[in-house]
Amino acid sequence: MTFQQPKINTSPHVSDEVRKTTCYMCACRCGINVHMKDGKVAYIEGNKDHPVNQGVLCAKGSAGIMQVNAPSRLRKPLKRVGERGSGEFEEIEWDEALQIAADWLEPVRAENPEKLAFFTGRDQSQSFTSFWAQNFGTPNYAAHGGFCSVNMAAAGIYTMGGAFWEFGQPDWDHTKLFMLFGVAEDHDSNPIKMGIGKIKKRGARVIGVNPIRTGYNAVADDWVGITPGTDGLFILAMIHCLMKAGKLDLHYLAQYTNAPVLVINNPGQADHGLLMRDENGKELVIDRATGKLTPFDKPGVKPDLAATYEKDGQTHRPVFHQMAEMYLDAQYAPEAVADRCGIPAKRIRAIAAELARVAFEEAFELDHAWTDFRGEKHDKMVGRPVSFHSMRGISAHANGFQTCRALHTLQILLGTVEVPGGFRFKPPYPKPATAHPKPHVGLTPGAPLNGPHLGFTHGPEDLALKDDGTPARIDKAFTWENPMSSHGLMHMVISNAYAGDPYKIDVLFMYMANMSWNSSMNTRGVIDMLTDKDENGDYVIPKIIYSDAYSSEMVAYSDLILPDTTYLERHDCISLLDRPICEADAAADAIRWPVIEPDRDVKGFQSMLCELGAKMNLPGFVNEDGSQRYADYGDYIVNHERRPGIGPLAGFRGENGDQAGRGAVNPKQLDQYIENGGFFVEHIPDGSNYYKPWNMEYQDWAVNIGLYDKPTPYLFSLYVEPLRKFQLAAEGHGDRQPPDHLRARIKDTMSPLPIWYSSEEDNHAADYPVTALTQRPMAMYHSWGSQNAWLRQLHGHNPLYLPTKLMRENSLSDGDWAKVTSPHGEITVPVLEMAALNENTVWTWNAIGKRKGAWALEEDAPEATRGFLLNHLIHELLPPKGDGLRWANSDPITGQAAWFDLKVRIEKAAAPDESQPGFAPIKSPVGTGPKDLTWKVGN
């Protein structure tokens, strides 16, 4: 008989229109096609033409439709009417809301601008928000980098003028061995997944170094289940092996790094350990051809890694000598570190040998001629197909800065940075630390700050201290406690403001920062600080303004809520002035634009700031006649110029929109971006796209497109001189002196060559022997996923994963509950067994746990009843040491929050009704979501 199948329409109408914009579910910033039906969002997919994601899209991006329609969206400005934390608000009009904000802020600006602390959390518009803060005049501005990743960024930039994630990527097309360090694999996620897919297809080897075998480590060919916090030691042991075997790229080290630069040997004097420089400040090397002291960049110079320089009875030796002496020491032998790292010595050697084999035996050449900064012409580019990458895990430790430095040192010793097959920078990187601004804190009441807030310090003279030596910034960034805190310390703002140390503030103004929940360590403590009152019955932190698109936990703890739009209802620029979307082969930036109009009375945060800025007459936000300068953020993006011809967007500049990088304002710029798919790409020509820090064709191209104003070639800093300058101060040299209690720590930790030190004792590891970590699931972004009806089905609650050994030791089985205790607090949570886990490590998914009443969830939602945060166990300060002082739980160099240093102990507990600690519900300002969803748009 014949089959009679139903006739189906295999070519149904897909959408009325596709609007191309940029995702906002994480820091990837992928291009998305938003399919519209009847003016509504019907379907979201990746944009195939987009440089970041080339069509692919992760779960978060694909669930965007549930994000823009989430019931937790705030609807109207809110004024607090109950006590802080109660969630009692009244809806007000925008005019009133902006008037309240201006009434609070204007006196602050007129009298003492430092009394405003303006911190933006998951801000993707930092070049704009910092511009606003600068015009306001407060020194107290930063985003969340100090909490998140400053070690990663700062170590990379100080060492080699760039870092991982948005700053660079492995050469996926050529690499044959890819080594990935660190837990919490959330940054740059789609590009990394695409890259891993690509190299696996070619059969390249992937080595994962991570206490937890999930995600990328699950597909890694080799998994190294390292003990948390010991990555630096493992790396230094591999450096030990490679040095001992002479498996180093000596040519690369001599030509492109400061390994041959002479170090002044002048014990006890103020210049001891600084780099030897000529009268122009150029680092000096011995030229192997002439044997003479020569500036490093002199044409034809052959810097000598071996030669020493004798003067006045002192022998001055090159950096490389110091490295040999330091790393050949037996303390870095694999046998000496194996137990501590939890990796057998034999395996350390095997991995080091494999790195050497692939880097040197599988070296190859690309037929690209290029000219280096000394004028030497090369007809080929040597490739070393070993590449490294790292996730946040190695950086969120008190030794994170030096660990990240160690990793960069390893890849530089192998000669695999900016070479074919190795690690490559993405524009605007490479860019040395010296080309970045320094921090500015010069304030004048009623006037703008004297320069950008954040930057890179190069010695004690750059610290942000007042004349009396006290911190100029509320977060104590750029002080002796953390001299190189390039991203600020958002996580210290509330506790410092509460303590009035270094001073009291009047207004706390925050954006997208869930400080009363998952974005703070010591959540309970922060809640108390936000709600505590002084003897007059006033809140200790007097006024809190908060902007967010959603009913997050922080809303309840604020006095004035300025509701933001969702990502599809707004303008944004992903700018070369900020953290752009470039690829190793191209400069690129992108926009967001309102593909739908808000159906609520909300304003994009940046547009609101344009209005508020004008209302307060901030220079930069008003015209000469005092009228509002930028109608909204879109207007700012098009018309603002940072330097003549350089604006937030690099594409379609000039009157005709045909100029890239530099060019006059183009009123049609946004339309042209939209026409082009929401982004702009300018490719780096072949031959310019490797060896970029030293490649003059690249340098000229970068100047041309506006990344630099003049060519800026530089040497990689294996030896970071600014660290030594802080050490010298601690040794008693110079005018600016650290307080005595910090001298020893500065001397010990701020080594100009990477070192490793343990923070176990500080965290009472003897009593709390287990490390507790968090990871962000690939399908969730911070808190946002919980309001997403689709994503919260994937991760509605989070168990604590225990290794088999700890499960057995504590007679636990899946579904049991355990009490987890740290020196700071305790939680009681459900546990699950995981075998592929370092045996002294436990972990959970981050930010799944929710406060009852937040995010428009019902109060019995599993996020609130079974979900939990590890944050309750972590304090912003270390446990008391008995010296009468409280030390910050952070990296002593950068101030990065050391939340992966968390030490705990585990014991079986009777199952409570709900995970502990429990919190009383807060009243939802938006009610709860609908019960069932049958989502379909159009017919």
Binding site: F3, P6, S11, P12, E45, G46, K48, N53, V56, L57, C58, A59, S62, A63, S189, K193, M194, I196, G197, K201, R213, G215, Y216, A218, V219, D221, K244, A245, G246, K247, L250, A306, F320, A324, R347, R349, A350, A353, A356, R357, E361, M778, A779, Q787, A789, W790, L791, Q793, L794, A835, A856, E858, D860, A861, P930, K931, D932, T934, W935, K936
Partner: protein, 249 residues
């Protein structure tokens, strides 16, 4: 039609690479999005913002820990699973209404929702958990292999592939004709030893899984030892070696 066609012109299906899947759930949500908006009733969600929330999904990603014998480290394998579009699809023959059928032209197993009475028997008959009864619509939902994408003339040619394949960031999902031994997917299956799930059930699945490559098998140090042959034991010796080597450069 409830009886299975004796032969289909093509055997369209997926090849899923377990060596590459990082478990990101991108395919799960992309599928949910496309199929909520397209073929048949939307994929509904119950208690969407409350306790006991659940919904209809046509593709779910499991994960397994596998403990090799000896002291080798345990492995974690992410495991996406959707309809395998079996050649001998038991879900089709049990259907009392003819709502479930296997297409003659490409072998896709589909549910004609207007004929489905929601008896659930096809889901009972499927060993893979590929069918879910939508709680709002009362009909059986399953992977359509995006039959409304792969031939859709309203989509650019390059987009005529299942939503899950198009979105997969790691490239762990491949789509094609497994009946054509010269197709790229068939070659991939041959090359990598693609396998059937539950072969003993006799369903002859069209979708294949590429097994994970061997893990943690870096050569023993002895093989690699020559690459770490010491040039010196002490810094002094090292500097001597350095000088000699630089001379040669």
């Amino acid at each position: 039609m409830t009886t299975l066609p004796a032969k289909t012109e093509k055997k369209l299906g997926l090849v899923i690479d377990l060596d590459t899947c990082v478990g990101c759930h991108a395919c799960v949500i992309s599928c949910k999005g496309w199929n909520t908006e397209n073929y048949g009733a939307p994929l509904s969600d119950q208690n969407a913002y409350g306790a006991d929330n659940s919904g209809t999904f046509l593709n779910r990603v499991h994960s397994y820990e596998v403990q090799p014998a000896g002291d080798a480290a345990a492995q974690l394998i992410h495991f996406p699973k959707s309809c395998l579009h079996c050649e001998d699809a038991p879900c089709v023959t049990v259907c009392p209404t003819g709502a479930s059928y296997k297409r003659v032209e490409d072998g896709i197993v589909l549910v004609n929702e207007s004929n489905c009475i929601g008896c659930g028997l096809c889901a009972w008959a499927c060993p893979y958990g590929a069918r879910e009864l939508d709680q709002a619509e009362g009909v059986m939902k399953k992977c359509t292999l995006c039959v409304d994408r792969i031939y859709n003339e309203n989509l650019p040619e390059e987009d005529r592939q299942p939503a899950c394949v198009r979105t997969c960031p790691a490239g762990a999902r491949h789509f094609g004709d497994l009946g054509d031994e010269n197709s790229s997917v068939s070659k991939l299956v041959a090359e990598r030893g693609g396998m059937d799930l539950m072969p003993e059930q006799g369903t002859k699945p069209v979708n294949k899984y590429l097994p994970p490559r061997p893990k943690d098998d870096m050569p023993e140090f002895d093989v690699l030892a020559p690459f770490l042959e010491p040039v010196a034991e002490e810094p002094k010796g090292f500097l001597g070696w350095l000088d000699k080597t630089l001379e040669k450069l």
